[in-house]
């Protein structure tokens, strides 16, 4: 370390120490915010261990089921000819959809400078990373020969074999890899200043880990200015990636000749569906985090009100897209398309009704009223229902079309097996486990973002310009 760096470090420490006495103006004191928001980083309680153990058990069960499938063969699933895709691909599309939460809530709201996003953006970003990771597992789980999955990776080999870039599955793989990398960077970038806060407030091995992860963040003006540019840029860049990911997932279906799949509205319809389930999942997550970490002061009914409005808009959009899709089929009455639709609505009537209730009726009705939007109980029910309905929606897209394809002699039906259900449950538990672990070791509420907001509330007038006091704090 050079002399200058040491000097800076000393200054920084002095600054930190002087900061111990609360002096930042605002509705909440800095110290209290730090304490509140970093409370999740305290050593795990017994309850946390029990939760992690239960989730881990479900994941282990799912792994056992997957091993069973690998060692026995695909017959342990409910798939057959003609329904060659089932619950796994349903799970895949569903989790890719959920992964749009982070992008939607975090980047769009960041770019539109909606301040109410601040307490939830970290949870949403983390959710994106974990959902897309879980989603990425499904296409591999569903392979007939899982151990040859690397054939799909373009790697140089002696035989000059190359994957087929005309295949939508390869687009999928490319898009999902890009999204995993992009969303991880997005999460990490947002986490950086908070890791520094955690580093400064932790001891022992944790301190060392945070110190490495914080990459020497000191919070100088220059660092903040670079950080701001980088995060705005990432927020802007991640949106096209997110849109492309779900468009490509939609193309898995839309580019085929399967009746009911081959439809031009699929990409936008899937993106809207993804955002719908993503927003609903963020609401669920907000409620859970609020309860688990006692963040009632930071996640207020106002935030739920705003999320409710967002949900209303997306739900209306989804309903419109669904109506357009069905209306075209119904009006054209093309025999095989109509056959698929009538088979779906007859064989899966209860599911269809739950889907319409959960995605359209319930959210549109409930989210119209301020009182309901601000009621945590209602929001929990609505957001859970939306995601149940979205899972059903994916299922109703995939399975009925395959059951009644063009050749009536080869029609079939599908019922999921215990293996597929176990793997899907394990995916849910795995996601929850990743999140539980993440929330224990990383600040789950964006400390700096919330503090920035608090600080900004006391803007300093300099001439005619209003200058956020945070600018003065760092120099």
């Amino acid at each position: 370390m050079s002399e200058r760096q040491l000097e800076e470090l000393r200054e920084f420490r002095e600054f930190r120490e002087s900061e111990e006495t609360p002096k930042t103006p605002g509705t909440l004191q800095t110290q209290k915010i730090n304490d509140d928001l970093l409370s999740s980083l305290r050593p795990p309680t017994l309850r946390w261990y029990v939760l992690a153990l239960c989730l881990g058990a479900v994941v282990a069960w799912g792994l056992a089921a997957f091993t069973w499938q690998m060692t026995h063969g695909m017959y342990v699933t409910g798939k057959n000819r003609p329904v060659m895709w089932g619950f796994y691909i349903t799970g895949f599309v569903f989790w890719v959809g959920l992964s749009h939460s982070g992008t939607m809530v975090s980047s769009i709201l960041r770019l539109s400078q909606a301040n109410w996003r601040r307490p939830i953006l970290r949870a949403a970003e983390a959710m994106t990373v974990f959902c897309i990771t879980v989603a990425g597992m499904f296409p591999l789980i569903h392979l007939g020969r899982n151990w040859t999955f690397f054939y799909m990776i373009p790697y140089p080999n002696q035989r000059g074999l190359w994957p087929n870039f005309r295949s939508a599955l390869l687009w999928d793989m490319t898009a999902i890899t890009a999204y995993i990398i992009g969303s991880s960077l997005f999460l990490y970038l947002g986490l950086l200043p908070d890791l520094a806060v955690a580093r400064d407030r932790s001891k022992g091995w944790q301190h060392k880990v945070y110190a490495v992860l914080a990459m020497g963040w000191r919070g100088t003006a220059h660092e903040w200015s670079v950080y701001r540019k980088a995060s705005t840029l990432m927020a802007a860049l991640i949106i096209p990636v997110a849109v492309s990911v779900h468009s490509i997932v939609a193309w898995d279906f839309a580019v085929t000749v399967v009746p009911g799949w081959h439809s031009t509205i699929f990409p936008p319809y899937f993106v809207i569906g993804a955002i719908l389930s993503g927003v609903a999942a963020v609401i669920t997550l907000m409620i859970v985090i609020r309860k688990a970490f006692h963040l009632e002061e930071y996640l207020t009914p106002l935030h739920f009100d705003n999320m409710g409005k967002l949900l209303l808009v997306i739900s209306l959009l989804w309903s419109y897209a669904y109506f357009v899709e069905v209306q075209t089929t119904w009006y054209a009455h093309e025999p095989i398309e109509w056959e698929v639709f009538s088979f779906m609505s007859q064989r899966y009537t209860p599911q269809l009704l739950i889907m319409l209730a959960g995605n359209t009726l319930l959210p549109i009705f409930c989210m119209c009223f301020k009182r309901l939007r601000r009621s945590i109980g209602t929001m929990l029910v609505v957001s859970l229902m939306v995601n149940v309905a979205m899972f059903i929606e994916r299922f109703l897209i995939i399975v009925p079309s395959l059951s009644h394809k063009n050749m009536p002699f080869a029609w079939g039906s599908y019922s999921s097996s215990w293996v597929e259900i176990s793997v899907n449950l394990a995916a849910l538990a795995g996601f929850a486990l990743l999140f539980t672990v993440f929330a224990k070791f990383f600040p789950i509420v964006a400390v700096t973002d919330v503090r920035e907001l608090e600080a900004r509330r006391a803007e300093v007038s300099m001439g005619r310009a209003k200058v956020p006091s945070i600018a003065g704090e760092e120099d």
Binding site: N80, R81, T148, P163, L169, T256, V257, V258, A410
Partner: protein
């Protein structure tokens, strides 16, 4: 289609007037191609391995009922929906106009099976075993497919290969009727005719120009290599 460099374009004509639905072709195919043997349970689950199936349709109302048969195997489409969707090129188009399937390249996404409008692709859900003495009957010319890969009718590509090699030795082209897949060879009513569609004088070419000809799901634009001749005259529908 234009990219074809081979002098062959294999195709088949199936005369539905001649088909009696006896099922000999199904058995012959199974014996020739090391197709897995499935038990009742596997078939009823929809996991049968038949590369060739005889679709049976009832026409009319009792007592005036007629039954119609439609043998369906891989149609070897010239614009095959199964080919572009395979992420690893396990499903590919060969210069003779056949849809090839590379078993040891297949990872088992089953995307091709979904996208095949004829539903003729079969997936090895099980690791098939041949009870004695059938295991001694396995053809050495063809891979025994493991579980987890997709397979389908190849027009008995091993026979085509052999005929082409013999012809090449003798410095000539494969003669019309020299090579036949097992199904066509076995058909007692000679409903199936196999040959080179690129040769306008071959039997299959002449029959494929019949006014009775049609193709399955023609409207999808898959350009199948299998032509059917309508059952005409004797039936009232």
């Amino acid at each position: 289609m234009e990219k074809l460099t081979s002098p062959y374009k294999w195709g088949m004509v199936i005369d539905l007037d001649r088909c009696t639905g006896c099922g000999a072709c199904v058995v012959a195919c199974q014996a020739e191609n090391n197709v897995g043997i499935c038990d009742k349970k596997e078939i009823s689950e929809g996991r049968g391995m038949h590369w060739l199936r005889i679709e049976r349709y009832w026409v009319g109302e009792y007592p005036d009922v007629r039954v119609r048969f439609l043998p369906v195997m891989c149609q070897h489409c010239q614009d095959a929906p199964c080919e572009p969707v395979c992420p690893v090129y396990a499903s590919y188009h060969n210069p003779d106009g056949l849809n090839g399937q590379v078993y040891n390249r297949c990872v088992g996404t089953r995307y091709c099976g979904n996208n095949c409008p004829y539903a003729v692709r079969v997936f090895n859900f099980y690791q098939h075993e041949w009870p004695k003495p059938l295991d001694s009957q396995l053809s050495p010319d063809i891979t025994v497919r493991s579980r987890g890969v997709m397979e389908k009718c190849t027009f008995c590509i091993q026979r085509i290969r052999r005929a082409k090699e013999e012809a090449k030795e003798e410095g000539r082209q494969v003669r019309d009727g020299e090579v036949q897949p097992a199904c066509a060879q076995t058909c007692p009513s000679e409903a199936m005719v196999f040959g080179n569609l690129a040769d306008p004088r071959s039997r299959v070419s002449i029959l494929s120009r019949s006014p009775r000809r049609f193709q399955l799901l023609e409207h999808l634009g898959t350009h199948p290599s299998v032509f059917y001749l309508k059952g005409g005259g004797r039936e009232h529908v």
